[in-house]
C-alpha cells in the first residue's frame, strides 16, 4: 500500500440515550484512499457527514465498523481500533487537523499558540517562534498582535491563527475543515498557496470546502459523501 489514508467500509451511528435511545446513522460504507501529495475534497450538502468523516480520520469520533488505515512511522495502523496512546502518537507525528474554530487556552500568546505543535515535537523554542512568525506574517496577522492571546481577535483572524498552527508542522497528513470559510479573497489565496506547497512536499490532504472556486483550485479528486449516506 502506498496510500497515506485507506478507509474501507467505515461507519458511524450516534445513539442518543437522552432522547430515548434514538439511533442517528451518520455514514456507512465510507471507502476511499488518499495518496501522498494528493488533496481529496469531500463534497455533499450540510449534514451529509463530511465533518464526521474528518473527525473519524483524526480519531476524534469513534468508528463503529470498518477500517481507517493510516500510514504511520512506516507501518499501517487502523485508527478504528487503535489504543488512545497510539492515536496520540499518530496525531503527534502523522496527522494534523485544522478545525473550523480555534479553541485556545486563555492567556497564551498567539505566537506561542502557533509555535506549540513544533515545540511539542522537539523543535527549539526560538526556531519554532521564528517559523510561527513567518506564517503569521504570510497570513497577514500584524506583528503587534502576536503577543496577545487570540481570544479577542475577529473570526477571520482566529481562523488564520488556526491555519498557521495547522500548517506549521511537517506532518504527512493534513485534514482541513473549511479552512477558508471566513477569509477575504487575499487570505483565501494565501491558503491555496499553502496547500499547493504541502502538495509539493508530498502531504496527503482531505478537505471540506464549500467555495466552488477554491475547491476547483485545490482538489485533485472529489469524493461525494452522499453515496455514504446511512439511510435510516
Amino acid at each position: 500500500m502506498t496510500a497515506m489514508i485507506d478507509i474501507s467500509n467505515a461507519e458511524k451511528t450516534f445513539t442518543m440515550h437522552l432522547q430515548g435511545g434514538v439511533e442517528l446513522p451518520v455514514v456507512r460504507g465510507v471507502s476511499f484512499h488518499v495518496e501522498p501529495g494528493e488533496c481529496v475534497v469531500l463534497s455533499g450538502p450540510s449534514g451529509a457527514g463530511k465533518s464526521s468523516i474528518l473527525k473519524m480520520i483524526f480519531g476524534n469520533y469513534r468508528c463503529d465498523g470498518g477500517r481507517i488505515g493510516i500510514r504511520h512511522q512506516g507501518a499501517v495502523i487502523d485508527l478504528a481500533t487503535a489504543e488512545p496512546r497510539q492515536v496520540l502518537s499518530v496525531r503527534r507525528s502523522t496527522i494534523g487537523y485544522v478545525s473550523q474554530f480555534l479553541r485556545a487556552v486563555p492567556r497564551v500568546a498567539t505566537i506561542d499558540v502557533v509555535a506549540e505543535p513544533l515545540i511539542a515535537n522537539g523543535t527549539a523554542r526560538a526556531e519554532a517562534r521564528e517559523k510561527a512568525g513567518a506564517l503569521l506574517r504570510r497570513l497577514n496577522i500584524p506583528e503587534r498582535l502576536w503577543a496577545l492571546p487570540p481570544s479577542t481577535f475577529s473570526g477571520g483572524e482566529q481562523q488564520r491563527v488556526n491555519i498557521a498552527r495547522g500548517f506549521i508542522s511537517d506532518l504527512p497528513i493534513l485534514l482541513l475543515d473549511e479552512p477558508t470559510a471566513s477569509l477575504d479573497a487575499a487570505n483565501r489565496a494565501v491558503v491555496v498557496e499553502l496547500i499547493e506547497e504541502k502538495k509539493r512536499q508530498g502531504v496527503a490532504m482531505v478537505a471540506i470546502v464549500h467555495d466552488d472556486e477554491i475547491r476547483h483550485l485545490i482538489a485533485d479528486r472529489v469524493v461525494d459523501v452522499t453515496s455514504f449516506a446511512a439511510a435510516a
Binding site: 450516534f14 445513539t15 442518543m16 440515550h17 437522552l18 473527525k55 480519531g59 476524534n60 469520533y61 469513534r62 488512545p84 496512546r85 497510539q86 492515536v87 496520540l88 502518537s89 496525531r91 503527534r92 479553541r103 485556545a104 487556552v105 486563555p106 492567556r107 497564551v108 499558540v113 506549540e116 511539542a120 498552527r165
Partner: protein, 266 residues
C-alpha cells in the same frame, strides 16, 4: 490550545490497577477498576460527588487499603511492585520524592504558618539536601516557575491568596521532580479567572517535566485541558473510558452523554 500535549509511547506502564475495589461495610465505594498509566500520561477521573473518584484516588496513592484487587507501581529500579507489599522506607521514598499529591485545599498540602521558601525547601531536605544556600536558590527558582513574586519567599502561605497558595502547593510537590502526581480537584476552590491561569501553568509544567498525573475533577473543561485519557465514574464503577476528546465529543454511555450535555454554555 485546548488539547493537552502529547505523550511519547513507552511500553512499560508506571502504575497498574487491577480489579480495585473498596467497601465500607455494605457500601461499595469503588468496584472492579482496572487500568494502566504510562510515563508522561495524564489521566482524568471524572464523575459527580459520590461517584467514587476520590476513594479511587486514595486507593491509587496508597492512602487507603483496597478491599479487593491491587495497585502496582514501577519503582526507579524498573521493577513493578505491589504497593501493599512495600516496606516503610520504600513508601516514604514514594511520598517524599517520586510522587506528588496536590490537594483541593492548599491548607492540607502546605504548612500554613511557615514561610513559602521553607514549604518548598522542606521536601528537598527530606531527600537529603542540606546546603541552605542551594535549597533557598532552588525554592526561589520554583516560586518563579509558578509565578510567585520571589519577594514573598519569607512570607507564610496564610498571607497568600487562594490562587497563590495553590501554585505554592504545586511548587512544593514538583521540586523533587516526581514521576507521578495525584491531583484532587486542583482548581476546585478557585475563582474562574484564577483557574485558567493555574490550568495553563499545570499544563505546561506537566509537559515540560514529562510527568504522569492522575487528576480527579468534576469539571470536564479541566479534564479536556489537562488530560490525555479520561475515565468516567458513576456509582463506584468506571462507565466509560478512552481518549479525552473522543469521550467528550463522542460520548457513548448514557451517563457520559448526560454529563457532557449538562455543561452550561459560557
Amino acid at each position: 490550545m485546548a488539547e493537552p500535549q502529547d505523550v511519547t509511547l513507552d511500553d512499560e506502564p508506571l502504575l497498574v490497577a487491577e480489579h480495585l475495589g473498596k467497601n465500607y461495610g455494605r457500601l461499595t465505594a469503588c468496584r472492579d477498576v482496572s487500568f494502566a498509566l504510562f510515563p508522561g500520561e495524564v489521566l482524568a477521573i471524572v464523575g459527580e460527588s459520590g461517584s467514587g473518584k476520590s476513594t479511587l484516588l486514595q486507593l491509587l496513592s496508597a492512602q487507603l487499603a483496597p478491599s479487593a484487587g491491587r495497585v502496582s507501581y514501577r519503582m526507579r529500579d524498573g521493577v513493578l511492585r505491589d504497593l501493599a507489599a512495600l516496606g516503610e522506607a520504600e513508601r516514604r521514598f514514594l511520598f517524599r520524592t517520586d510522587w506528588g499529591y496536590v490537594h483541593q485545599d492548599p491548607a492540607q498540602g502546605l504548612r500554613m504558618a511557615v514561610s513559602a521558601g521553607a514549604n518548598v525547601g522542606e521536601r528537598l531536605m527530606a531527600v537529603g539536601w542540606n546546603h541552605y544556600g542551594r535549597i533557598r536558590d532552588t525554592a526561589s527558582s520554583w516560586l518563579e516557575r509558578v509565578e510567585i513574586d520571589t519577594a514573598r519567599i519569607d512570607d507564610a502561605p496564610r498571607t497568600y491568596s487562594g490562587g497563590m497558595r495553590q501554585r505554592l502547593q504545586i511548587a512544593r510537590n514538583l521540586v523533587t521532580e516526581p514521576r507521578l502526581v495525584f491531583m484532587d480537584e486542583p482548581t476546585g476552590g478557585l475563582d474562574v479567572s484564577v483557574q485558567a491561569r493555574l490550568l495553563d501553568l499545570m499544563r505546561n509544567l506537566v509537559s515540560e517535566l514529562g510527568l504522569a498525573a492522575i487528576v480527579v475533577t468534576h469539571d470536564l473543561a479541566v479534564a479536556r485541558l489537562l488530560s490525555h485519557r479520561v475515565m468516567v465514574m458513576k456509582g463506584g464503577r468506571v462507565v466509560e473510558t478512552g481518549l479525552t476528546d473522543q469521550v467528550l465529543d463522542d460520548p457513548r454511555e448514557p451517563y457520559t452523554q448526560l454529563l457532557v450535555s449538562s455543561i452550561l454554555p459560557a
